[in-house]
């Protein structure tokens, strides 16, 4: 060893300095970290203004998912209206890449902020996000009534 071991005193000085620095650790169950707006956790349904869903059962999210963890069971009635029997989402195989949300043309799903996803029973990881729901049908815009329509006949 060359000369005096001064390094240990430098380390001690830094350790002493850190005694007076604010605590950086979050006491997890009591305190929660701030989750950014863009944080990607489990997929959830993004409700519209009135609380209804916007899924049109187009199945684009199913094709976009690399791990095939979204599965829609859809019944099409004779009048071609669609009914979502199940909107299966497997949290266990989801890797939160966000591709389904990017692909959705109707803004019907989003990446939620629920990060406590552990379950003792693997069966609880498969969720039915929209059980037994008719697919959202976009209302046709009401046609403005032409006030002169009746006059031309007369």
């Amino acid at each position: 060893m060359r000369g005096l071991p001064t390094g240990i005193f430098k380390s001690l000085r830094i350790a002493f300095k850190n005694l007076f620095r604010p605590n950086m650790v979050i006491q997890y169950p009591k305190q929660r970290a701030i989750i950014p707006e863009r944080a990607r956790w489990a997929v959830e349904i993004k409700p519209a203004q009135d609380g209804s869903h916007r899924c049109q059962a187009c199945r684009i999210c199913e094709g976009a998912c690399p791990h095939h963890c979204i599965k829609l069971d859809i019944t099409t009635a004779e009048d071609r209206s669609k009914h979502i029997d199940h909107w299966w989402f497997d949290r266990g195989s989801c890797m939160m890449c966000g591709l389904c949300v990017e692909a959705c043309p109707f803004d019907a799903i989003r990446m939620g902020h629920d990060y406590e996803l552990a379950h003792a029973d693997p069966a609880l990881l498969v969720l039915d996000l929209l059980p037994d729901t008719p697919a959202y049908v976009r209302p046709k815009p009401a046609r403005p009534v032409d006030p002169n329509a009746g006059d031309t006949d007369a």
Binding site: K10, M24, P36, R38, A64, P66, M96, C97, A103
Partner: protein, 434 residues
Amino acid sequence: MAEQLTQDTTPDTSLDILRDLTADSTVEVVSAEELAAGYENAGWLTPDGTPPAGITVPRNIRRIADDPHQLTTDHYLLNMGPQHPSTHGVLRVVLELDGERIMSSEAHVGQLHRGIEKLAETRRYGQLGSLFDRADYVSGIHTELALALATEELAEIEVPARAQWLRVLMGEINRCASHYLWMGPTGLDSGAMGIFLFMMYDREKWLDILEEVTGQRMMFNYVRPGGVIADITPRAVQLIDEYLAEADARLDEHWDNLYESEIFQQRTQGIGVVTKQDALDFGASGFILRASGVDWDLRRDRPYSAYDRFEFDVMTRDEGDIYARMVCRLDEVRQSHRIIRQCLAGLPEGDYMAKLPKVLRVPAGEACGIVEGPRGELAVHIYADGSDKPLRAHIRPPTQYALNIADTVLPGQLLADAIVSLGSFDFCFGEVDR
């Protein structure tokens, strides 16, 4: 007495003292030149009469025994391996030991093999990013960037200027986070416990910023062919500014805390030396090459993205030992801070994503995207057949080449130094095993 002496290796300068000490005992002292005459004269034969494999170290003490098998400790194999196959990055090294000294080493890889390259053949180009994140899970942005560069070269996509700068910005932030995850645990390997926790503070700060911009802390899926998926947010700019105000002072503090510690210097200086020729021969890149005295950095020498518009220095060291690698990387973090400051000051306005079809079809051909990752030159090679999926994708992991050097660096060291020597190459087995 005799047993203790045989466990030690003493430098040539004290040969005479040793000869005096061992005059009446059963050990004899020889010099390195005498030893070079042949293994037969050194009393170093295995029971079947052949020299043991991997002995390249001159030994100054040898044993004399009437029966050569009586006093010679047998070489034994030590499996320095994973405790459990499902731990993060697992390496199995089979060491041939003589006492505590390593005679030869052999690395076994493949425990984290997930078939990423084969899986890539079943994914569309837009889906590949989330897969390649898992290759080098500590610096996902760089693997995504290499993939995006290869795809853009094939599909001839023009990337907007703002996207180029955002790629540089997030790449440098990820580089800092990756370096901290290495420098802290290297202190841990050499016995410095506190520095690990201090450095995790810095890493957490960078990870918070990455999460704010990209949405996740490690598996970003942020850089895509054509640009990036999201713009930087005002809160992220505020977080970066807040942290950069104290960042360089914290680096000085880390220097005082770890690098000036005599214990750490003794554990790392002159140990795990990679010579310049070895580094070049084995295809090492990145910080291993620069710590061995080769002035080479892709960011400066073959600039990709927007790196030609930034001012930074390439830090090199000549020693090639563990300490040199540590210093080299600490300096690189300082340079990354410079690049991040320039990024925030001159971020151009405009789109962050090029206009692309929903399903990207890439014309047939092959292309290679090469970036300077935190661990070295990281390349993604794409072979396209004109469909929306690659016909073959290959990742060139920098640390796989560093792993080859380990087998030449380890022999001659003590077992206790093997841990910190192996750790100093910063292997990431996600990308070695893929």
